[in-house]
């Protein structure tokens, strides 16, 4: 097991090292092959680890921090949660790497790109496999760092570089809370091992657990783009499409959900924390779905859908259903990677046009992409019997079964969100693929890229098999996660479960029908005409993400800029620089004034000397007399 785990981490790290150190010297094909082989090697290790997995295992690879009583060795922890994520990350990232080879075929700076992609995978695997919080934090920051560099990959355009900075700074807000939580935990318990901390939950007072839980939640908000720290994710679309796929599906944004699921035995004891997690998730799910309704940019639709779906996962964690949340995380990774890679194909075929109102007709010219994309959209919308349906429904069921006014309310909000999700998913499909007005450009790379979509589409569609409901024979994940704390799902009668699924499927189909009526067939042309006109206030509100950017600009950025301006002009230039300048000028002036005394005439000097001597003598005489 030790060899699998260490190789799983070392493969991407070596790939990154080789690409970054020698990438420019090596032939292009070799760099691409090494990058893909590293991730696939990592996947094989994860797969072998899964095959030989018996019980949760802790593996220590070496010493890292050991000062006084702070112990943070390089130790990894393999349990169902980290194992399932590791397998998923290896597989999805492997496919994305293969896709990138074709997508970035014309990019000159391929070495930097593949080095960063490999490093990204390494950081994410470190994050999920870490046994102690400092190591987890290392991966956490590594993920943030790689995403910053990859979002701003085309950094010569200032907008891209700004998007990278925005992602970095926004997630930093959450990271600060996480660091505080880690330090607090160490101060309370003297231990940073996740397994030990989770076992110590009952020793800590309730108020402290609530505080730590809320801090961890803020950390997760930053990384997972939850309200109110979600503003960076739509802008993160500035990066290359495979990077967006990686950030949204396998790495980065799921880290927050993973953190909360990992620490759930510790924080789950506090009802305040779980309620806060659930409310955050519910609000975010609704926020994302509502914004996605009005977006025009294909990638921004998907970005808001990710925000919304991560909100669902948070809802699952908040309802105490770790299995359901992880199930949705896995299935979402498959279909969101599929949608992003499909979007990459579409954008590449449409000459890098991203406005969905200017697309159309791709159903016939790109049939493979269309069918795969349709499968992804069906999963996203939660149409019955797709993977997304089962995973989303298990979260909804957990919410319903949790009971209480708050959770029932969130259940209704989640149902409404599901309706919106189905609507915007098919709005996107209708606008992109139906109609006639597209002139796609099908090139050789595009044909290769399409094949990557097929395994993802199959996994998305049949992802439900991972965890079927009880009346269909019970789920694999349920059994697998049963020994995980918080893993055991609440029991529902078959009838109740069927009823809940019935409601969810009716809503998904209603959303599909609404999208069909509004965007399908002849109505589509009408909508295209409307889109050229000015939009209503509500559409603008949703298009701009509820004006959160403007709000933050007004309440945070502008005061900060004003303060910086004052400090710069008044403090730095006005007080510090000016006082030094004046001191120097005063010294210079007095120097040149004194310099005027040196006339160069010896007689004056001698006279002054004699006068001075006479004065001193006179003073001494006055003293003695």
């Amino acid at each position: 097991m030790k060899i699998y785990l260490s190789l799983m981490l070392l493969f991407p790290l070596f790939g990154a090292a080789i690409s970054s150190l020698f990438g420019r010297k090596l032939p292009r094909r070799l760099v691409e092959t090494i990058a893909c082989a590293a991730v696939w090697g990592s996947f094989v290790c994860a797969f072998l680890a899964a095959c030989t997995y018996r019980a949760p295992e802790k593996v220590t690879l070496g010493d890292w921090l050991s000062a006084f009583d702070l112990l943070a060795p390089l130790s990894l922890y393999l349990d169902p949660l980290s194992l399932s994520l590791a397998v998923m990350i290896g597989f999805v990232c492997g496919l994305i790497h293969v896709y990138s080879v074709f997508y970035m075929a014309k990019e000159l700076d391929y070495a930097r790109f593949f080095a960063l992609l490999n490093l990204f995978v390494f950081a994410m695997l470190t994050l999920i496999l870490a046994e102690n919080l400092p190591l987890l934090y290392l991966g956490w920051e590594g993920v943030g760092f790689c995403s910053y560099l990859l979002i701003g990959f085309w950094y010569t355009d200032k907008r891209n570089a700004d998007a990278g900075r925005k992602a970095f700074i926004t997630t930093r807000v959450g990271d600060t809370a996480l660091v505080i939580a880690v330090a607090w935990l160490f101060q309370l318990t003297g231990s940073l091992s996740i397994t030990q901390l989770n076992g110590m939950a009952f020793l800590l007072p309730g108020g402290v657990i609530t505080g730590i839980g809320l801090l961890l939640l803020v950390g997760a908000m930053g990384k997972s783009a939850q309200v109110p720290l979600m503003v960076w994710l739509p802008d993160a679309m500035a990066g290359p499409t495979p990077v967006s796929a990686m950030i949204h599906a396998a790495t980065m944004v799921t880290a927050g959900v993973y953190l909360l699921a990992r620490m759930f035995p510790l924080i789950g004891g506090s009802a305040t924390v779980t309620a806060a997690v659930a409310v955050t998730g519910g609000v975010t799910a609704f926020y994302g779905a509502s914004c996605a309704l009005a977006q025009r940019d294909l990638k921004r639709v998907l970005a808001f859908s990710t925000i919304s779906q991560i909100g669902y996962m948070m809802l699952g964690v908040g309802a105490g259903a770790i299995t359901a949340a992880t199930f949705h995380l896995l299935v979402h990774a498959f279909f969101k990677a599929l949608l992003f890679l499909g979007a990459g194909c579409v954008i590449s075929a449409m000459h890098h046009e991203q406005d969905i109102f200017k697309m159309g007709g791709l159903r016939r010219t790109l049939p493979l992409t269309f069918w795969c994309y349709l499968a992804g959209a069906a999963c996203l919308a939660g149409l019955p019997f797709t993977g997304g349906f089962f995973s989303k429904d298990s979260i909804l069921a957990a919410l319903w079964l949790k009971g209480g006014g708050l959770y029932r309310g969130l259940y209704l909000l989640a149902l409404l969100t599901a309706l919106l999700t189905a609507f915007y998913s098919f709005r996107m499909v209708y606008l992109v693929f139906c109609g006639e007005n597209g002139r796609p450009h099908v090139h050789a790379e595009l044909k290769a890229m399409q094949w990557v979509l097929i395994p993802l589409a199959l996994l998305g569609l049949f992802g439900g098999l991972l965890n079927l409901p009880d009346y269909l024979g019970g789920g694999f994940l349920n059994g697998f996660f049963a020994r995980l704390s918080g893993g055991a799902a609440a029991e529902a009668s078959h009838l109740e479960e069927l009823a809940l699924q019935g409601v969810a499927s009716v809503l998904a189909l209603a959303g599909l029908l609404a999208a069909h009526l509004r965007y399908g067939g002849k109505a589509r042309a009408q909508r295209l005409k409307e889109s050229a006109l000015s939009s209503s206030a509500l559409t603008m509100f949703l298009l701009n993400g509820w004006y959160f950017d403007r709000l933050y600009h007004a309440i945070l950025i502008r005061p900060y800029q004003a303060l910086s301006g004052v400090l710069w002009r008044r403090m730095d230039e006005g007080v510090i620089d000016d006082s030094l300048d004046r001191l120097a000028a005063g010294l210079g002036a007095s120097g040149s004034w004194l310099g005027g005394w040196t006339t160069g005439r010896i007689s004056v000097y001698i006279f002054s000397f004699a006068a001075g001597g006479a004065l001193i003598l006179g003073y001494l005489a006055w003293l003695t007399l």
Binding site: S592, L594, G595, G596, W597, T598, T599, G600, R601, I602, S603, I606, F607, A610
Partner: protein, 102 residues
């Protein structure tokens, strides 16, 4: 008959003042300034000798001899420089040499 010390000192002070007055007043001629300096030095030497005679210690006389050697060296050097200055500007007026000013 011994001369009291303060008579010697008064004479020395008078000599010194005369020398100083010469240096301060006669600036039109470097050589006259040098003579003034010599007079002042002699006043100092006189003080040394007077002190030596008063307390019967030979140190003062020793210093007087040292000063004689020193002044001869100083005068030879200074006169050489005066010759040099005179060659440069055809003048021995000190006010003509005021180029080293602030």
């Amino acid at each position: 008959m011994t001369v009291p010390l303060y008579h010697v000192l008064i004479l020395a002070a008078t000599l010194f003042s005369l020398g100083l007055a010469c240096v301060v007043a006669w600036r039109a001629n470097v050589i006259m300034m040098l003579i003034g300096i010599e007079i002042m030095l002699n006043a100092v030497m006189l003080t040394f000798v007077g002190g030596s005679a008063q307390w019967g210690i030979a140190d003062g006389q020793l210093f007087a001899l040292m000063l004689m050697a020193l002044t001869s060296a100083e005068v030879s050097l200074a006169l050489a420089m005066v010759v040099y200055l005179h060659r440069r500007k055809r003048s021995v007026n000190t006010d003509d040499f005021d180029s080293m000013n602030g």
